[in-house]
């Protein structure tokens, strides 16, 4: 077991930082409470550096310690999580208790240690990221379940406390109950998988499947697990909550929701799919028991078809619903659904021939990075701006597309960030989103998924309708003179997050080759060996 510890240094650092944030956050002194954000930042930075600098040498580890199926996944996923997490943290500044803070600074109100929940927010933030990183490490179903829930549970509370509005509470409650339903579904799936194979260890499950084929029970477990996890990635049929929750939460938390649970979900789906592997061909064997020894290049047909339908529906539903929205946050929420659909194409394709243009897994991993950066950029622009206080004295959030009008003139940095990020989400060359989408297309074409590619292409075109609205409103239209002016929210770091993301959209596309190479390495897939072997010793540790 200690071998696995060397994978976990980033999580340990993050967890330590979380504890410190909680303790500091309970201090009676105002000044030390204000340090919570700083501590969170330092902890996250340390975790990121640890994940980059001390990635364990997978080759030299005993086979039981490493995930055998996707052995290099951790080396890409954790730095990705750390870096996007840092961007999100910049964005999260001042999410809770902002008005109260202002009043304290102005001397209107006295600091009340019992009322402030600033530190809770940051510790939930870090808990969620810790869970996300643990997802990447998972080699066991129980571990996976705990990591997934550690990722999700804090987000329910973050949604509620991110804004003082009733809408936020409604969103939080919806998110919680529906999330519980999703979790129940995939937990049931995990249980069926255990029932089918007698183990919770992913490697052992894979070996079992490789040796005995995928039984009906095992397939049912896989399907339930994958569909349950669709809640995390906001895919059909688990997508209903998305728009309401994103709209109800503060934009910075919506950005968090669009990246963190989605990444956790995709890592989980990749690991689950890896247990059966992508080496099933269209075979003559009965569908109830399929073996990977058929030597093809696909997921088992049932799983493939299910994912195929989910992918096609997800992108279509996301895009057509986004067409009709006026609220920027709802547009981005539906677009987040659509992007999950795009990425599912990569999951269906699988590792392919292992080259960057041929591997769907590396396309998914690279797209997660691209999506993380572009998405943070868009939400950061929303978070960095607000409507000046009107008669009621409350500054209002940026809501509709019309609020974005003329932003390139009034707030050039933020306006152009919005333009760049939304064009990149659209996939316009030469921006990052284009290079993200390209391998999804090429790998799917090479895998022969032509109908899916056509659906993907049509959906990308449909998406242009609303992304261009997001890009043109700041760039080409005039600001509305009659309403209260749009002003910058008093948090410089949000602006920094927006500009850094927009810069990343441009710069990473130039440096994209290196990142693609990393994602290609991370996507390396080792099919399981039929004999149970090494995995079983691990199984005993976890058996209840």
């Amino acid at each position: 077991m200690t071998d696995r510890l060397q994978f976990l240094w980033p999580e340990i650092a993050l967890f330590a930082a979380t504890c410190i944030v909680m303790i500091v956050g309970l201090s009676r002194r105002y000044a030390s409470r204000k340090a919570a954000a700083l501590v969170a930042g330092v902890g996250l930075l340390a975790a990121t550096l640890l994940s980059i600098g001390f990635s364990p040498d997978v080759e030299s580890l005993p086979a039981s310690a490493a995930q055998q199926l996707l052995p290099n996944l951790v080396g890409f996923a954790k730095p990705l999580i750390g870096i996007v997490g840092l961007l999100l943290l910049l964005l999260a500044a001042g999410t809770v208790d902002r008005r109260e803070e202002e009043e304290i600074v102005r001397g209107v109100r006295v600091f009340d240690p019992l009322r402030s929940n600033r530190a809770e927010f940051y510790s939930f933030f870090l808990f969620s990221l810790t869970g996300l990183m643990l997802c990447a490490d998972a080699d066991d179903l129980i571990w996976l379940f705990l990591a997934l829930e550690l990722t999700s549970l804090p987000t329910y509370i973050m949604v509620v406390i991110s804004t003082a509005k009733v809408r936020g509470r409604e969103a939080g409650v919806k998110y919680f109950f529906l999330g519980a339903l999703g979790a129940a579904t995939f937990l049931y799936g995990f249980a069926l998988l255990y029932g089918a194979t007698g183990t919770t260890n992913l490697n052992a499950i894979a070996s079992h499947f490789a040796a005995h084929g995928v039984s009906t029970l095992g397939m049912a477990g896989l399907l339930l697990s994958v569909i349950g996890v669709c809640f995390k990635i906001a895919a059909v049929p688990m997508h209903f909550y998305t728009a309401d929750v994103y709209e109800g939460a503060a934009p910075q938390v919506s950005a968090f929701l669009a990246f963190v649970p989605k990444t956790a979900g995709f890592l989980t789906i990749l690991l689950l799919c890896a247990t059966v592997g992508w080496s099933f061909g269209p075979s003559a064997e009965p569908l109830s028991v399929v073996k990977s020894s058929a030597g093809g290049t696909q997921l088992p047909e049932v799983l493939r078809l299910t994912l195929w339908v989910i992918a096609a529906l997800t992108m279509t539903v996301g895009n057509v619903l986004a067409l009709m929205q006026v609220s920027v946050k709802r547009i981005l929420a539906y677009s987040s659904i659509a992007h999950s659909g795009y990425m599912l194409v990569g999951v269906i394709v699988g590792p392919g021939d292992g080259s960057f243009t041929g591997s769907g897994v590396s396309a998914v991993l690279f797209y997660l990075l691209c999506y993380g950066v572009m998405n943070v950029g868009c939400f950061a622009v929303l978070a960095a701006l607000e409507r000046a206080p009107g008669r009621d004295g409350e500054p209002r959030e940026i809501e509709t597309v019309t609020d974005l009008r003329g932003l390139c003139v009034t707030h050039p940095a933020l306006g152009w960030s919005m333009v760049l990020c939304s064009l990149s989400l659209l996939g316009l060359p030469p921006l990052l989103g284009f290079f993200g989408k390209l391998p999804l297309f090429t790998s799917a074409i090479r895998a022969g998924e032509i109908p899916l590619v056509i659906i993907l292409g049509i959906n990308s075109a449909v998406a242009a309708y609303y992304y261009l609205r997001l890009a043109f409103a700041p760039m080409l239209e005039q600001a509305d003179e009659s309403a209260e002016p749009i002003v910058q929210a008093p948090f410089r770091s949000r602006q920094v997050a927006a500009v850094v993301s927009a810069g990343g959209v441009v710069v990473l596309s130039i440096l994209g080759n290196t990142l693609m190479e990393h994602s290609r390495t991370a996507a390396e897939y080792r099919a399981a060996v039929p004999s149970g072997g090494s995995g079983h010793s691990m199984v005993d540790d976890h058996r209840p």
Binding site: L224, F240, G358
Partner: protein, 732 residues
């Protein structure tokens, strides 16, 4: 290395170059970032200029170091930019790295690009001084970005990076021509330059794509190695063995080069580009960017050598452009425009030089022209700066003898002598002479040769027409229109130089009623004078790279540099070009050498071209200097009616703009209206119908987003149930 393509093949196994070569583009890029930061922090001093001058000078020093170390062809890779593969076979991978291809051609180009950019930035520090503030930062940021793009263009080791630089210089050119963006003519000129260049760029892009389709690579090293096979076939007199597609690449690249280098029929943007500030005209539209087309052809010379059609077209287009632009230049009155047409004309010489197979002569002419034409522009700019924007040669006279204008006068004289190719002592003579001699020596290029010789005489005339009218003769001047501009509207036009500066320097009171009497021209300050002195010395020193060492082409170090580059080609030893001769001699037979009335063409040209230049100069002296008593009128004006309508046509630029308007713009407008109607009723109709579909679906499923918790839970559970049910039905 006189074996041309074979030499390129040998260089194919390129060593890796010095790492510091990457500093050459990086330093100007840093300058761009710093100048942009200056704009952000609202710097109002001359800081951006000093940043630019310092970094560009450092870049020049690095270039010089690179020149002294690079041997043959070396490649410095900065980082892997694009590497895609979709298979392991040939043509199944696409590689375009941020890598630099360092050879003689790169060194030559980068030496004069960075050197002149440094000097012109210094000049601009004074010239643009009245713009201090945001405009100053904007100017120098674009200036640095230009040098960076030009470095990418020149140093690229593949066509994609070259294209990036190509578009980058186009963008900077657009930004700088339209620098006075509140002046409608400047905006129009910027748009014109950009659009005309787009036409060329389209063909360049097509050429690059075809390159990839045919050779399976866009990297020079690989490309030239593959082209060497064809070169052998051409040398053996079997041009028909070269596939048409391979020959077409050069044709497409050639059209791209025509656009950037302002050749027929795409030259019309360059004269208008003079709306930009004069340092921009000097650097971008005279010395460096416009030679990018020449560079492109020199860089891909192995591809041109295997194309039956490209090379003669280059020669003829070059010659005709040279003649046409020279005739227009003769009839203009705006001295900056005359210099612009002269640039077009001299670029024609360079293309003709490439076309008649003296890449050495063309490169030498690029180099000498860069120095002396930059100097001529800067001298004209000094006049413009000093006389409140006056550029009309009928309103200025005897400038050279005014106090404080001596250096400008000398610079103008030296530049003019170089431009006309004054025999023996000027570097311009040797470079132009090589092109002329080689043209006459080429049996199939006699027509080109005669056109070029005639143009040489016209060049001498229009050049000294400017000098004799403006710089010598009786002193007389009228200030330009900028004197009457309002003080507060320096961004509203007239902005090339502030007259406020003029008046404060002379303690005058400003007022609405400035007449000629109140106006005193203000001679250039130290920065402008220093640059002009350095360039005057450089114009003479340009003699050294040409004559400093012996070389079969009589072009010394430049000849050596070109031999160590992709443009290596020696017409006296390489047999590759047999196909252009009227008759094809058997392989191995020495190439037939045309003569000039029985004399050796090269030796004859040394005399004849010098003589023609002197005649042109003498005519200019007679018509524009001898007996002239006022600025406005000279003997030429009385004799003009004798030329009939020709002079008038030339003055109106042979109505080429109007012709293009009629031939291209009008039909396009009609088409545009037609398409607009089709678009509105047919295409929009279809699109609306198609667009209705996703919206319809959206409307259909929108009720599922009711916002109700139980509805959502039902949807999730129901969806799950449906999927499982279907799976259950399918599997059983």
């Amino acid at each position: 290395m006189h074996d041309g393509a074979a030499g390129v093949t040998a260089a194919g196994a390129a060593a890796s170059g010095p790492w510091y070569a990457m500093l050459i583009p990086i330093l100007p890029l840093a300058g761009f970032v710093l100048c942009a930061l200056c704009a952000v922090f609202r710097v109002r001093s001359k800081l951006p200029a000093w940043i630019t001058v310092g970094l560009l000078a450092a870049s020049f020093a690095v270039t010089a170091a690179m020149y002294s170390t690079v041997q043959g062809t070396q490649i410095t890779t900065v980082f892997q930019w694009i590497t895609w593969s979709w298979g392991s076979g040939p043509g199944q991978s696409f590689t375009a790295n941020f890598a630099f291809y360092l050879d003689g051609l790169t060194c030559l180009w980068m030496l004069f690009v960075t050197g002149l950019a440094t000097l012109i930035a210094l000049y601009a520090s004074e010239y643009m001084s009245h713009e201090a503030g945001a405009g100053y930062c904007r100017f120098f940021a674009a200036f640095c970005l230009f040098v960076f793009s030009m470095a990418c263009l020149v140093m690229a080791d593949n066509l994609v990076l070259l294209y990036l630089g190509w578009e980058g210089v186009g963008l900077c050119s657009y930004l700088l021509i339209g620098y006075f963006y509140k002046k409608p003519s400047a905006v129009a000129a910027a748009k014109k330059a950009f659009i005309v260049n787009r036409i060329g760029d389209l063909f360049l892009a097509l050429g690059i794509m075809l390159c990839f389709v045919h050779f399976g690579t866009v990297e020079y090293k690989e490309m030239f190695a593959q082209a060497a096979v064809y070169t052998k076939a051409v040398s053996a007199g079997e041009i028909e063995k070269v596939p048409l597609v391979a020959q077409l690449i050069a044709v497409l690249l050639m059209i791209g080069a025509f656009g950037k280098s302002a050749q027929l029929p795409l030259y019309v943007w360059l004269p208008d580009a003079m709306e930009g500030p004069t340092p921009v005209s000097a650097l971008i539209h005279a010395a460096t960017m416009v030679t990018a087309g020449v560079f492109l052809i020199a860089r891909t010379y192995p591809l041109f050598l295997i194309s039956e059609y490209a090379m003669p077209t280059v020669a003829w287009v070059g010659a005709l452009t040279a003649l046409l632009a020279a005739t227009i230049g003769m009839a203009q009155f705006d001295i900056k425009r005359i210099m612009a047409y002269s640039t077009v004309s001299q670029l024609g010489y360079m293309f003709a030089g490439l076309g008649v197979l003296t890449s050495v002569g063309a490169a030498a002419h690029v180099f000498t022209h860069a120095v002396f034409k930059a100097m001529l522009f800067l001298a004209c700019g000094a006049v413009m700066h000093g006389f409140a924007g006056q550029l009309d040669l009928r309103k200025l006279s005897g400038v050279g003898s005014m106090p404080g204008w001596r250096i400008v006068n000398v610079a103008m004289l030296v530049g003019s002598l170089n431009l006309i190719g004054f025999p023996v002592i000027t570097a311009g003579y040797w470079s132009k002479d090589t092109i002329l001699g080689e043209a006459f020596a080429n049996p199939s290029m006699q027509g080109v040769a005669w056109i070029l010789l005639l143009t040489a005489g016209l060049t001498a005339y229009y050049t000294f027409r400017v000098y004799f009218r403006v710089f010598v003769g009786p002193q007389s001047y009228e200030p330009g229109e900028e004197l009457h501009a309002q003080h507060d509207d320096k961004h509203q036009g007239h902005a090339d130089h502030g007259h406020a500066h003029d008046q404060h320097a002379h303690g005058e009171k400003s007022g609405a009623s400035h007449g000629t009497h109140d106006f005193h021209p203000h001679p250039p300050g130290w920065a402008i004078n220093t640059v002009l002195v350095i360039l005057t010395i450089a114009a003479f020193a340009a003699f050294w790279p040409i004559k400093g060492t012996s070389h079969p082409s009589h072009l010394g170090y430049i000849g050596q540099m070109m031999d160590a580059s992709s443009a290596a080609y020696d017409p006296h030893h390489d047999a590759a070009m047999y196909q252009f001769a009227a008759h094809k001699p058997a392989p191995g037979e020495p190439r037939s050498h045309a003569t000039f009335f029985g004399f050796d063409a090269h030796k004859a040209m040394m005399w004849v071209s010098g003589f023609v230049a002197l005649i042109g100069m003498a005519i200019a002296y007679f018509l524009h200097y001898a007996g002239r008593t006022s600025a406005t009128h000279s003997r030429a004006d009385s004799w003009l009616p004798a030329a009939g309508p020709l002079a008038n046509w030339a003055k109106h630029k042979w109505y080429v703009d109007e012709f293009y308007d009629f031939l291209i713009r009008k039909p396009l407008l009609v088409l545009a209206h037609l398409f607009h109607i089709i678009d509105q009723y047919l295409v929009d109709g279809i699109v609306d119908a198609l667009g209705w579909l996703p919206k319809g679906i959206g409307r259909l499923i929108r009720p599922s987003q009711s916002g109700e918790l139980h509805g959502y839970a039902f949807g999730m559970a129901g969806g799950l149930a449906v999927i499982l049910l279907i799976v259950f039905l399918v599997t059983n």
